[in-house]
């Protein structure tokens, strides 16, 4: 929709004169609406060949499914009424029986290129830049004259060089050998995966061992250019892998951080940790629904309210747990394990009864959809970037809380020597409750973050409990720094293995690795020299 509007605005700006004076060619519009896909594409190419900028809204409407036919008439039906596609006049009232004009991928691809090509001559730089990006791959021969014309007129260096690349991608298919060689060499400067595909297609072998391209000189030039492009793309792939590893690592870190407090510092084997994450995710869901119901205008900001809500809800549930069950089991790990496991089942069932067994939908706010293009072949999705940033913030906040505040001091004191802390007047029981609440609240924050990338259902926590324990144990019990390093390390190893061997094997391999590692070094990566010695 936004695209269509953009096209409309642009077309008005560019061709206000032509829209008013010249109506579109009715025969071509008819072909576009009633013809089969081949005829549709022929009509689109004809519009481009005419350089008919006024056709852009019509073409966009076709791609967006807004084109309808009523008898012989062709209509563009938008949110605010319909206009006749040929004359541009408003049509009121709307005819009762209308049929959609369906454009498939092939037609839509052609439209995208055509609209982009028509925009190459637009006065605004951003519009041209976007058009150039669109045409980077798959520009058809029909566009060559237009591209050349645009190149001659272009003053901006960046767009000009992009246009040269586009011309080269078309000229690669030319009949003249000299032109082809020149085009292939020009493509060596490219960094787009589309170019690799194009150059690769020159080097393909047919069945029976013969090359598709008979000319050896052309092949050799293509090989050289391909090598240059591939070298550049390889960097993109490495960067993408690194990002994926960090992203998974940040999710593991968020999931494990709460456990690093409750298990790592306090020594409670909390099997209900996953469910505290799940409660955080459901709190996010509830806040989302409330915001949608009472302040739909502020929907994009609902996460701001959801973060404290998730923290407080999970924290309160955690504190209630500690007060009612866990405090009676300190120092009895086996009983704690069984009791918390039972509690986890109860929590799952409670959520199932409250919200239903099916997954609930937590929608991303619109600013978290899409991503930024880092390199031509690497897109970093916004939701993952946000989670990495969020994880970093939470780690810093927890770190500061434990080292810089009175509560943190008490927590560390009680962990190290409960009896002595009690002697100097620390209310150990209350500190335990607060610490457990803090760990649970951090789990709730993890749930809030996870709701943005995965599914939210009653079983959500089950998927993370094993990973969380793995991270804490691998990092070394009792150490926040160890948890951070372990989470990022495991995330990265997992992604590295996944890109080699697939997701199923990667998961197994990581578990085997952890088992072997713990055999060799039971205290984890960062070991304390002894529980009571740490300052």
């Amino acid at each position: 929709m936004k695209k269509a509007l953009c096209a409309l605005v642009f077309a008005l700006g560019l061709g206000a004169a032509s829209i008013a004076s010249a109506a579109l060619d009715a025969a071509l519009v008819g072909k576009l609406a009633f013809g089969d896909n081949d005829e549709k594409i022929a009509a689109i190419r004809a519009f481009v060949a005419q350089g008919e900028a006024a056709a852009a809204p019509l073409l966009t409407a076709l791609a967006e499914g807004q084109l309808q036919t009523a008898g012989e008439r062709v209509l563009i039906v938008g949110d605010d009424g319909a206009i006749d596609a040929v004359s541009g006049e408003k049509v009121t009232p709307l005819p009762e029986t209308r049929d959609d004009v369906i454009a498939n991928n092939r037609v839509r691809g052609e439209v995208a290129n055509a609209v982009a090509a028509l925009r190459l001559l637009a006065p605004q730089r951003e519009v041209r830049l976007k058009a150039v990006k669109e045409l980077e791959t798959g520009a058809s021969v029909a566009l060559l004259p237009l591209v050349k014309r645009a190149r001659e007129k272009e003053t901006d260096a960046e767009i000009r060089s992009a246009l040269e690349q586009i011309a080269a991608t078309i000229e690669v298919k030319s009949d003249d050998k000299a032109t082809r060689l020149e085009a292939i060499r020009a493509l060596a400067a490219s960094d787009s995966p589309g170019t690799r595909s194009l150059l690769g297609s020159i080097l393909l072998m047919q069945q029976g061992g013969r090359y598709v391209e008979p000319d050896e000189e052309v092949r050799r030039a293509a090989e050289e250019s391909l090598k240059a492009v591939q070298g550049r793309l390889a960097w993109g792939e490495r960067a993408g892998l690194l990002f994926a590893g960090v992203s998974l690592g940040s999710i593991l870190l968020l999931a494990a951080l709460g456990l690093a407090i409750t298990y790592g510092l306090m020594g409670v084997i909390n099997m209900a940790h996953g469910e505290l994450i799940m409660i955080g995710a459901y709190a996010t869901y509830v806040v989302q629904n409330l915001v949608r119901a009472y302040a739909p205008g502020a929907f994009d900001a609902y996460l701001l309210a959801a973060i404290p809500a998730a923290f407080i809800t999970s924290g309160l549930v955690g504190m209630a747990l500690e007060r009612s069950v866990i405090r009676y089991l300190y120092g009895r790990p086996l009983e704690t394990l069984l009791a918390t496991w039972g509690i986890s089942l109860m929590l799952i069932q409670a959520v199932r009864t409250l919200f239903g067994a099916q997954n609930v939908q937590v929608e991303n706010p619109s600013w978290m959809s899409g991503g930024i293009q880092l390199l031509a072949n690497v897109v970093l999705p916004w939701n993952r970037i946000m989670i990495i940033g969020f994880a970093a913030l939470v780690v810093i906040a927890v770190g500061l809380l434990l080292t810089r505040t009175r509560l943190g001091l008490f927590v560390r004191g009680v962990t190290q020597n409960r009896a002595m802390a009690s002697c100097v007047g620390v209310p150990t029981a209350r500190v335990d409750t607060w610490a457990f609440g803090l760990g649970s609240g951090v789990a709730g924050l993890a749930g809030c973050a996870l709701s943005q990338v995965g599914n939210v259902g009653p079983d959500l926590g089950q998927a993370y409990i094993v990973d969380s324990f793995m991270v804490v144990v691998f990092g070394g019990v009792g150490q926040l720094a160890g948890t951070v390093v372990a989470a990022l390390g495991l995330g990265f190893i997992n992604k590295l293995l996944e890109s080699w061997s697939g997701a199923v094997i990667a998961k197994i391999a990581v578990l085997v690795f952890i088992v072997l590692f713990i055999q060799k070094r039971p205290q984890g990566l960062f070991a304390l020299k002894g529980r009571a010695v740490e300052a």
Binding site: R106, G138, S197, L248, N377, N383, R384, A463, A503, V504
Partner: protein, 427 residues
């Protein structure tokens, strides 16, 4: 007081005994029990819950119109919780304890494989409403979803055609269990027969409930930029589809560059996904909600009214129908027709009466249960995702086509007859 209760119990027992004597699967005089065996929790709940609801809607509709042969349907709903061995347990419970006349259920092939021995041992009757990989015929099962030649093969053929983009390179991506593995085996053989070499096929699997598709999409991008037009065939099942499509949209992999055709994703699975970046990705089914014909309009309207009346979460605000829901609906009505033809709830008699049943389906055709192979003749449709989460049908067969449960692309299948072996004996 106690004596009265005792007498009552005695009477009920006698009635039950009488009913069982007459027809083994009928419980009491005026009601007949049928089972609904769909996961209402766990990874498959995203897909299966709607099937339970549409089955209940159909039962209610039949009951309102006088029931089956005058008997009111009494549904027994159980939740096997996406847990495959539990499916077998629940199936056994339905047949032996509840004495249901028929069971409507299962989505994943692994759940169907799990209950199959139970149905064959106890001579139960299962209606399976989802597309699957073939390689199976049982006299106790009626398959109302598509066999590979009614979904997978036409979809791949379409992507190879000029209109589909002329794909030459293939990514076969699926969840790691029997349906995707077998389908991909069939597709690989089919692609070989079309001259595609192994170097141009990439196969990838993820566990159930997988939620991090970053590397897989990066791999697809890389594979797609090696010189030939690439298409992805996705047999990902369950709620993994949500993170998969979210990642696909966020990473900007457009359908005009690399189209993804899915076999287990319909209107329902895309409910929670922002479909604007996904416009043009495909799904192959035998029915879409957007199909225009009077029967479908009525079906969709009925579903919307039912969802509203029963306050079904999600559906009440945005009612969606999909292919397996349609197949469930068809299956229940065909069972009713067969019971009325056989004048009995007896499994063997109903099985015989099922052959050749016809039904005017929401897909716009009067479709038929094959006389022999327990599969429906179905039309094939390929749809592209629209920005509102619905599908545009961009290609379809001229009419219903016959199912080939034994795919000719798996070696050793030539000799297998498309007729359950023990069927002949019961006729």
């Amino acid at each position: 007081m106690e004596r009265r209760v005792f007498l009552k119990k005695l009477a009920v027992t006698a009635a039950v005994a009488a009913a069982i004597g007459g027809s083994p699967s009928v419980y009491a005089k005026d009601t007949v029990k049928v089972g609904v065996l769909h996961s209402l929790s766990g990874t498959m709940a995203i897909s299966e819950t709607a099937l339970k609801d549409v089955a209940l809607m159909t039962f209610e509709e039949i009951n309102a119109n006088g029931g089956v042969m005058g008997y009111q349907i009494e549904p027994v709903v159980v939740d096997p919780a996406s847990n495959w061995p539990l499916f077998a347990e629940k199936a056994r419970q339905l047949i032996t304890q509840d004495k249901v006349a028929a069971v409507f259920g299962c989505w994943t092939s692994v759940s169907r494989k799990s209950v199959l021995p139970v149905f064959e041992e106890l001579n139960g009757l299962l209606f399976y409403p989802v597309q699957y990989e073939g390689e199976e015929i049982s006299k106790n099962v009626f398959y109302t979803g598509a066999a590979p030649n009614q979904q997978a093969i036409p979809a791949v053929e379409y992507l190879m055609s000029k209109d589909g983009g002329g794909a030459k390179r293939w990514v076969l991506l699926g969840t790691d269990y029997v349906y995707p593995r077998t389908t991909n085996k069939i597709l690989r053989a089919f692609l070989h027969s079309k001259g595609v070499s192994d170097a141009d096929i990439m196969e990838e699997y993820t566990p159930f409930g997988h939620s991090d598709y970053q590397t897989i999409i990066a791999n697809i991008k890389k594979f797609a930029s090696e010189g030939k037009k690439t298409a992805v065939v996705s047999t990902i099942n369950g709620d993994s589809n949500v993170p998969f499509y979210k990642e696909l949209g966020n990473q900007g992999l457009k359908a005009t560059d690399v189209p993804v055709v899915a076999f287990s994703v319909g209107e329902e699975e895309l409910r929670g996904v922002d479909t604007k970046p996904l416009v043009g990705h495909l799904a192959a089914w035998n029915y879409f909600m957007s199909v225009k014909n009077p029967t479908n309009t009525e079906f969709v309207k009925k579903w919307a009214a039912y969802a509203k009346k029963k306050n079904i979460p999600g559906q009440k605000d945005k009612p969606l129908t999909n292919d397996p829901m349609e197949a469930t609906y068809i299956g229940i009505y065909m069972w009713k027709q067969a019971v009325e033809k056989a004048k009995s709830f007896d499994v063997d008699k109903v099985t015989v009466a099922m052959g050749g049943q016809t039904f005017k389906a929401p897909d716009g055709y009067t479709i038929q249960m094959d006389a022999k192979n327990h599969h429906l003749h179905k039309p094939v449709m390929i749809g592209e995702v629209k920005s509102d989460g619905q599908f545009n049908v961009v290609w379809k067969t001229k009419g219903p086509i016959k199912a080939q449960p034994w795919s000719p692309y798996i070696p050793g299948n030539e000799a297998k007859k498309d007729e359950p072996a023990r069927m002949a004996a019961t006729k």
